[in-house]
């Protein structure tokens, strides 16, 4: 096992453990903090895959912004620690069996795809040039200019929608 594989196994285990903690802890705030750890594990896997830009974006957007958003959302809720509620219910065994079956079905289906066993190939362009190519491709009219502008409209819709819903709630609370 090479060093790279060792790193991958370590970071994958960290990610899976953190993800399990997110869904199994009772305190919502602790779940949110473990979610940051899981996202950090995903960022490290991006780094192992030599996608430096996406690792940085993962940290900047997911850990920097979305985790903050989730923590603020938790802070807005009233009862975060209800001890009476359990994280599992009676049918968790059936759910586990179903998940394992579905997992194996998906794996067998994907493995029939011819590209499944191809080895990963490293990009020939070094880090700085990859970002450069991404930047020119993003605003290139033959490239991704239209999706780029559409992304801004999507972000605008998210901003307006979120503020519209949240602000109306605040007005109801005041009246």
């Amino acid at each position: 096992m090479s060093v790279q594989q060792l790193f991958f196994v370590v970071f994958a285990l960290i990610t899976i453990f953190s993800a399990l903690m997110v869904v199994s802890l009772r305190n919502l705030l602790h779940s949110a903090l473990w979610l940051i750890m899981a996202l950090l594990g995903v960022a490290s896997i991006f780094a192992i895959l030599e996608a430096s830009f996406f690792a940085a974006v993962q940290i900047l957007v997911y850990i920097g912004a979305i985790a903050i958003l989730i923590i603020f959302a938790v802070m807005l809720t009233h009862n975060i620690m209800s001890v009476a509620e359990t994280q599992t219910n009676r049918s968790w065994g059936i759910a586990l069996v179903m998940v394992v079956i579905i997992f194996f079905i998906i794996i067998t289906q994907i493995s029939t795809w011819p590209g499944f066993n191809t080895r990963l190939q490293a990009l020939n362009i070094p880090g700085q040039d990859a970002v450069l190519a991404f930047g020119t491709g993003l605003v290139d009219p033959q490239g991704f200019a239209l999706p780029f502008e559409t992304a801004s409209v999507l972000l605008l819709a998210a901003l307006l929608g979120g503020v519209f819903i949240a602000f109306d709630q605040r007005r109801e609370k005041k009246s």
Binding site: V57, V61, F72, V139, P141, A145, E149, L159, V163, F167
Partner: protein, 118 residues
């Protein structure tokens, strides 16, 4: 390629180890003579009597939402800034359109008063 991440990994290990060593050393070395006053939550002031978890203002959430949107905008603008020397006028105008669409959203939020604290 992995080498440049190795430095970050070393820094992560150091940054985790330093506070861990400090906390562990304090736990090992410090004498433990607890009494009632030392164990109280505040040295002076009243004990809390109800649930300490209060509902925060919606403004925190709105600020985080606006921050998230403009964080994503920064992520989109960063590669364009890197490629600025290769950019034509069309590309720059396109980036300006991108910014101005989101700035319109920012103006809407501002005018609606969602960013004010009262």
């Amino acid at each position: 390629m992995l080498n440049q991440w190795l430095y970050i990994g070393i820094f992560v290990v150091i940054s985790l180890a330093l506070p861990a060593v400090a906390i562990l050393l304090a736990r090992i070395l410090s004498p433990k003579k607890p009494n009632k006053i030392k164990n109280s939550a505040y040295e002076c002031g009243m004990e809390t009597y109800d649930k300490t978890w209060v509902q925060f203002r919606i403004q925190y959430y709105l600020y985080a939402l606006v921050f998230l949107i403009f964080d994503v905008e920064t992520v989109f603008l960063f590669p364009i800034a890197v490629a600025y020397n290769q950019a034509t006028l069309f590309m720059v105008i396109e980036a300006i359109i991108f910014i101005s669409i989101l700035f319109g959203g920012f103006l809407y939020v501002w005018r609606k008063g969602a960013l004010s604290w009262y």
